[in-house]
Every structure is written in C-alpha cells, then in structure tokens.
Symmetry: C2
Subunit: 203 residues, 2 copies
C-alpha cells in the first residue's frame, strides 16, 4: 500500500472557513484538494492501493485528520471544487466517523499518526534529503510531506527521528501535489500496480 501523509498547519478544521469561491484564501484549501486528487486519481481510474492522510491544524477546531482511501472512496472527481465539498462535509461530521464512503475524519495529530504507522517504512520529503533515485524507496511505504510553508521545526525534528530516509526530488521545490505525482510515477515504473494497463475501474 502507498500512503501519503501531508501536513497542513494552516488549513481550516471548521467547515464554515472553507469558502468555495476562495479556496486559496481558506488556508490554502485548494492545495488540500489537489493533494487528495493527485494522490488518488489517474486517468479514468482510482488508485485502489493508495491512502492519503490530510493533517489539518488551522482554525477553529484543530487538529483533525481526514483520511481518504482509494479502495473505498466514491464520487471523487479531479476538480478542486467537488473535492472541497467532500472534505468540507468531513469537517462538519463528528470525529471518528465516515461521512462519505472512503472519507474518514478523526482527532489525530502528527504524534498519533506516527504512532499508528510504527513498523511501516517511512520517508520524509525535504529539499535537503538524498536523491529519490539513490534512496530507491519501497513501494509499500508512507511518504510524509509538508505544505507550502513546510513543517514546524518541532514537526521536522519528529519526522527526521522517525524517517527511514529523507528524500529530495531534485533541484526544484515542488508543490505537495506535484511531489505526490512524481512519487507515484516513480513507484508505478518500479513496481506497476495491479490496475496498470487494466480496464478502468471507475469513471
């Protein structure tokens, strides 16, 4: 299984702060949406082997972790607005529920998530890391990324302590959603997933 954990320290945790007409001004909720869709969608299909954890730590009710699983999710479309509506509904829901098929919400901060992931191969993406092609990460692994402002120094220390390796994707700093696309393609070539070249499973 491929897992992505993305840290959004400023993304809203209460639904009324997600304004569909201004997702960038809503704590960069546009980036939260793109991370979700780029993690889970390819052309005409859903990545059934992938899970994405969105750790939201902005106002007014932090922390919340929304987890979207490719195996269960339904009606996930590639555009930001539709995805924002799904995720906003998750912020309206009670913690520890699945308000939409394949979308779960709970109270969990970074320490909790790292605790759950114990035993998994964990890679932390940072510009000062070693080259992707040199590290050769396992396909069954957790990849941890920050948003446009990056993790806090405390989160950074915690992640470096837990990571099997720190990975850099090259000389250009990418958006979190772009990093995910690059990682997926690296893993697709390294070990093609079951849905490779098969019939489309959704949409």
């Amino acid at each position: 299984m491929r897992e992505f954990l993305v840290l959004f320290n400023h993304a809203p945790t209460s639904p009324d702060r997600v304004r569909l007409k201004d997702l960038p001004g809503s704590g960069r909720f546009d980036l939260v949406c793109r991370v979700t869709t780029q993690a889970l969608l390819y052309s005409h299909g859903v990545r059934t082997d992938t899970v994405v954890h969105l750790l939201l730590r902005g106002p007014d009710d932090p922390p919340k972790t929304i987890t979207v699983t490719g195996r269960r999710v339904r009606r996930l479309y590639p555009d930001e607005r539709t995805t924002a509506i799904h995720l906003r509904r998750a912020l309206e829901a009670d913690p520890d529920t699945e308000p939409h098929p394949g979308i779960f919400v709970r109270r969990a901060d970074l320490e909790d998530l790292l605790g759950e992931m114990k035993g998994a191969k964990l890679y932390y993406l940072s510009e000062d890391g070693r080259d992707l092609e040199e590290v050769e990460p396992e396909p069954d692994a957790v990849f941890v990324l920050g948003d446009h402002e990056g993790p806090t120094p405390e989160q950074d220390r915690l992640l470096r302590r837990h990571a099997d390796a720190v990975i850099s994707l090259g000389p250009i700093p990418y958006h979190a959603d772009q990093c995910i696309v690059i990682l997926h393609r690296y893993l697709d070539v390294k070990r093609p997933p079951e849905y490779a070249h098969g019939p489309s499973n959704v949409m």
Copy 2:
C-alpha cells in the same frame, strides 16, 4: 525553452460556456486550468523558461489557442478558479491580443501550431510510445499531449508524422496535468533550469 501543447477537443471557446461552479461540466475546463498551472508553477515560483499552448476546439467559436508564457505572466495562482477567470477573459478577448500579461489568444488549429514549431524538437505523448528514460528528450523541446479523451485519429496521424519521438511515461495512464509534472521533473533533474535553488521570483 520548454513548450507544452495540449489538445482539448471539447473545451469551450466562448466565455459564457465556462461556468466557475461547474468547471468539469464546462467541457472539462478544470483540466485546462490544471494543465496551465502545473506547466508554469513550482513552489513559490513561475517557470520563466516555459510556455504552454492550450488548443481549445469545443463550442461555440473554435478553434482558439491560448498561449501562456512563464516569462510574462502575472498573477497566476495555483488554484483552478482563479486560473479559469484568467482564461475565460482570454476567451472574451479579440483574437491576436494579450488580454492579460503573458496570456495570448488567437485563431490557430493544430496544423498552424505545428507549422510554427517547425525546426523544434517535438515529442508526442502516447501510451504506445517508447519509455521516457529511453528516449531521453531534449530539455529545449515541444511536448504534445491530448486531454482525457485523447486526440482524434486525424490529429494522431498528424502528430506521429511530425514527432521526433513518441513517448510513454509508463504503465499507468496519467491525466495531462500529471504528465506535465512528470516531464518537468525529468527535465529539472537532467538539466536544472536557471531558477533551480535560486531565490523565488514570484509570489
């Protein structure tokens, strides 16, 4: 210079068909927007060496080609809605104008564009192509991609005739915007652009 030419046979060419509340239902204008931003933006910067051509052939006034140049474009943000507003304004404008800094619109179909690109290295992306890493495309080149429905048989024939090579990105079919992210990263590593590791130039 890196150039991307993306064929959208169903994307609207008249502004009233671009509905901000339903970009997917507007001839998949969400994909047009993501192609634009993924071609031109990295984290906190604009790719000043990149140009993207959006060939739109849907109703009601086809064909139109919108060209966005990284060197000139202003106020380009990564979210779909803001980008849709910019591009819709280009559809409102008279052909052969620059209605927004760095965004040009004109009457041009595939044959016209290929004529202009004569002499440039041209790579056509198709699932039956040769592996990216085997072709080793030049960084100064034009990459031509189809949208979610792909080029027409006639466009496909024309592109194969003009292309220096047909490239496949691997065992998974990607969205056009994902293909662009993958190509950019391949080229970034192969020959880091001027803005690599430099100060952010925009935003």
